[in-house]
């Protein structure tokens, strides 16, 4: 038995949890957090589908690596925007 299918379900679980919280939490920080979990869940599914008995497919690994780096840029941009929105409410 290979570990890949367990992580497909874990990734799908993460995606489900993240989507639910994305729709129900009002806190902007938690929405950004949920978006991060959503992306990681998708990355985990992609990675699990790349799993092979002898060697893991390198192309999805490169995709996921790229995704992680893009995600940190998106997170930083979203947090800066969220702080800007907060600052506007004060005025």
């Amino acid at each position: 038995m290979t570990p890949d299918f367990i992580y497909i379900f874990a990734g799908a679980g993460l995606v489900g949890l993240a989507m639910y919280r994305l729709a129900t939490r009002r806190d902007m920080l938690l929405r950004v957090l949920a978006l991060n979990f959503l992306a990681i869940g998708v990355a985990m599914i992609l990675q699990a589908s790349a799993f092979g008995e002898t060697l893991t497919d390198a192309v999805p690994q490169a995709f996921v690596l790229t995704g992680i780096v893009v995600l940190v840029g998106v997170t930083a941009a979203l947090l800066a925007l969220a702080e800007q929105i907060d600052g506007h409410d004060d005025e």
């Binding site: 038995m1 570990p3 890949d4 299918f5 367990i6 992580y7 497909i8 379900f9 874990a10 990734g11 799908a12 679980g13 993460l14 995606v15 489900g16 949890l17 989507m19 639910y20 729709a23 129900t24 939490r25 009002r26 806190d27 920080l29 938690l30 950004v32 957090l33 949920a34 979990f37 990681i40 985990m44 599914i45 990675q47 699990a48 589908s49 790349a50 799993f51 092979g52 060697l55 893991t56 497919d57 390198a58 192309v59 999805p60 690994q61 490169a62 690596l65 790229t66 992680i68 780096v69 893009v70 995600l71 940190v72 840029g73 930083a76 947090l79 800066a80 969220a82 702080e83 907060d86």
Partner: protein, 299 residues
């Protein structure tokens, strides 16, 4: 035995993620996020992807956690009560449905892997032995160039919005001895990850994140504060990586007639040169994304 470990790890990931997303206390949520990130890095090791695991631990858990903690203290808590029951019920049903559909679709998808054969065929000519580095910096190097552009676009956005610069508090007497140990370790590990990325797991992104972590420790310790000179240096470094990458792309076009197709036999030199520039540039960009770039005070 290993099966039990995988099941336990998967349950742990979903449980910590659920906890992190459900808590009221933001600091606790971010802590939960970092713990989940580390567990996910472990799951990537189990899935045979140590390169991704390194990146997830350093960038996904570490630097994103630092960014979220920074903003957790700044953003005001959301006003208003919980969402209405109907909205929560609908969101829960749709999320469950989509999640199950996703799992089913991936689980039942016919699995014929096309890439491993192509990658191992091209690996000998790629100049490096690590297949992931070969994909990132040779076969699909165009994607990597655009990825740096995306990071740069995020940086430009942060520059335009110019969020407040975090003010680190004094962290006590043990901070300096801690920095004396951790900063050299960060620099050495970064160099090690960069160099070994050619043959075994590692590479520019992990090395850059490691270096950025070192910068953040310096920042927290009250050194490397975003003074105008540090900022100018950081911006120059951030730009230099992208500029060198773009120039290298144009140079390959001139030398071989194909964009980003390295001259025969010299692939490794090109890859290491681009990766070195990227490491410094990624570290600078991540540092600037954390600190924000204040506008110059109006005269």
């Amino acid at each position: 035995m290993s099966m039990a470990f995988d099941i336990l790890l998967a349950l742990g990931i979903v449980f910590t993620a659920g906890t992190a997303l459900g808590l009221r206390d933001r600091i606790a949520s971010v802590t939960g996020f970092v713990i989940t990130g580390l567990l996910i890095a472990l799951s990537f090791v189990r899935l045979g992807a140590p390169d991704v695991a390194l990146a997830e631990a350093a960038i996904g858990a570490g630097l994103t956690g630092a960014l979220l903690l920074r903003s957790a203290l700044r953003l005001k808590p959301a006003e208003g009560s919980k969402s209405p029951a109907l909205q929560r019920f609908l969101a829960a049903s749709i999320a469950t449905g989509l999640s199950c559909a996703l799992a089913w679709a991936v689980y039942t998808a016919p699995g014929t892997a096309l890439y491993p054969a192509l990658v191992s065929e091209g690996l000998a000519k790629s100049g490096v032995d690590n297949p992931v580095t070969a994909v990132l910096l040779n076969f699909r190097v165009w994607d990597t160039l655009l990825e740096i552009v995306v990071l740069f676009a995020a940086l430009v956005l942060v520059r335009i919005i110019a969020p407040a610069v975090p003010q680190p508090e004094a962290l006590g007497e043990l901070m300096l001895p801690f920095m004396r140990v951790i900063i050299p370790v960060c620099v050495f590990l970064s160099g090690h990850l960069l160099w070994q990325g050619a043959t075994v797991p590692g590479g520019a992104f992990q090395a850059g994140a490691m270096l950025a972590g070192g910068f953040l420790v310096l920042f927290m310790g009250g050194l490397a504060l975003p003074t105008p000179r540090v900022m100018a240096f950081g911006k120059a470094l951030a730009l230099a990586g992208l500029a060198i990458f773009a120039l290298a792309a144009l140079a390959t076009e001139a030398l071989t007639g194909t964009l980003l197709f390295y001259p025969d036999g010299d692939e490794k030199i090109w890859i290491i040169a681009i990766e070195s520039a990227l490491t410094l540039s990624i570290a600078a960009m991540l540092y600037l994304l954390f600190c924000g770039m204040p506008r110059r005070p109006a005269k």
